[in-house]
């Protein structure tokens, strides 16, 4: 009953935020490990995954390491040359659109796989993402998602594959799917060492203007953002010292010129946090 009341109130508040921000769509999935509450608002709606897809690549990279295919301290040749999944045509990533210029300076040399995973998540490096996905293979990464029983995350290609985009081949995800992906990371799909490392990487996220911005300062968030011209997402595991964590996926879609998109995600994050506090039983209630 408690969760139903919370869900109703939260749904109203989120719908109100959606209207106010003039978002095309807002999708939210939530699992509170303290109360067991599960909440989903348009949880099965498909969105362009943007950079949240990098969490799926991260899972595949660590799964392959767990399977002994390579070691995380192995090195990979850094090369800015990729092939479109649409027609095999060659493409190159733009350094200007990447938050990890240091990686471009190292092209021609090697980088450790562990360093690339950090760059892919913490700095959202497209170069690191495509190198890692190229290395493990799209088919392998998709197979890992199937093994992990993650529905609602369609990993089809690397990033900035414009040829594929023009043909409608995109990475897509639902809020429920991304929630499921984060739950798998928290579960026992990976070895305990890999799980710890994956969460440590997500905790080191450098872009904190969405989910963390709606939380009190003592919260820590293992998360990954994703932004393209029409989408602003953030998905993560929220740790609060006084309670068990909650897992949340907030996906939004906007017109390309719309301002205040990150603020909307932060407001959704804040609304979720407040609603969960309301849901917690007081110490003298049992």
């Amino acid at each position: 009953m408690l969760s139903v009341d919370v869900s109703n109130g939260l749904q109203e508040e989120l719908e109100s935020l959606a209207l106010k921000s003039r978002a095309r769509a807002i999708g939210v999935a939530l699992h509170d490990l303290e109360t067991g509450l599960r909440f989903s608002l348009r949880g099965d709606r498909w969105f362009h995954a943007a950079s949240t897809i990098k969490v799926a690549v991260l899972l595949a990279v660590f799964r392959a390491a767990d399977e002994g295919r390579y070691r995380l301290d192995d090195s990979l040749h850094l090369r800015n040359r990729f092939f479109s999944v649409a027609d095999g045509s060659h493409f190159r990533l733009s350094q200007d659109r990447d938050a990890t210029p240091e990686l471009y300076k190292a092209i021609g040399r090697t980088a450790k796989i562990s360093a690339l995973t950090h760059a892919m998540i913490c700095g959202s490096s497209n170069l690191a993402t495509n190198l890692l996905l190229d290395f493990v293979g799209v088919e392998y990464a998709r197979a890992v998602l199937r093994q992990a029983e993650v529905d609602g995350v369609e990993l089809r290609r690397g990033v900035e594959d414009h040829g594929a985009h023009e043909r409608g081949i995109n990475n897509e995800a639902t809020p429920d799917g991304l929630l499921s992906l984060l739950s798998v990371i928290r579960g026992d799909f990976l070895t305990p060492e890999s799980k710890r490392e994956v969460i440590r990487i997500l905790l080191a996220q450098r872009f904190n203007s969405m989910i963390p911005a709606g939380l009190p300062p003592h919260a820590t968030v293992a998360h990954k953002t994703g932004e393209i011209s029409t989408a602003s997402h953030d998905i993560g595991i929220v740790y609060l010292p006084e309670r068990e964590p909650y897992i949340v996926a907030i996906l939004t879609e906007f017109d390309p010129d719309r301002n205040g998109r990150r603020e909307t995600v932060a407001a959704i994050s804040e609304a979720i946090y407040r609603s969960l506090l309301r849901a917690e039983p007081k110490s003298n209630e049992d």
Binding site: Y70, R71, D74, S75, L76, H77, L78, R79, N80, R81, S89, H90, R92, I107, G108, R109, T110, I113
Partner: protein, 198 residues
Amino acid sequence: MKTESLRPIDGLHLAEGYRGLLRPDESEAGTNSTVHRLPRFFYEIESWEEAHEIRLAPHFTLAELMLVDCREARLLLSQFPHYVPCAVLLLARFLEDFRREVDAPVFVSANGGYRSPAHQIGGAKSIHAWGTAANIYRVGDTFLSDSRSIQKYRTIAASLGPAVFVRPFGHEKGQTGDHLHVDLGYVRLTPRECSEAS
């Protein structure tokens, strides 16, 4: 130049694990019905420190020409000794000549020098398995990633001798788009002190 410490060994005398990966003196079918024999004689390298110390030419250390990533076979990647075909000396000599012509530092990429026949890129069909090929990704401050730069340095490299092959710019098979591939053919080098009697 510190090359006196180079130790040539006959690949046929290596332990089975290494022979299986390096395939010394084995024949490999190439394209157009060609068949080539893989290198038989190798230099044995005890450590990365040693590879960095060995200058094959004034501006090229052995380490630069044997750097590979994790697509190399585990045995050849993670533990020493490493083995590099003796013909890598000729490659270094060519690179030194090229460096002199372009009057700038020349950078060979990872996986761009010697790769074993067990390497996942190209395998035994790649001329990199002979130690006579180099992928140059940068000359001075210029990254070779467009038609203009690759064409410019291709002309210079090709002018250094009739045995030099340089791939043209492009993104099709046999072309390169983000480096300059140069090679000296399927050269095998037998050091003086080594015998080819099996």
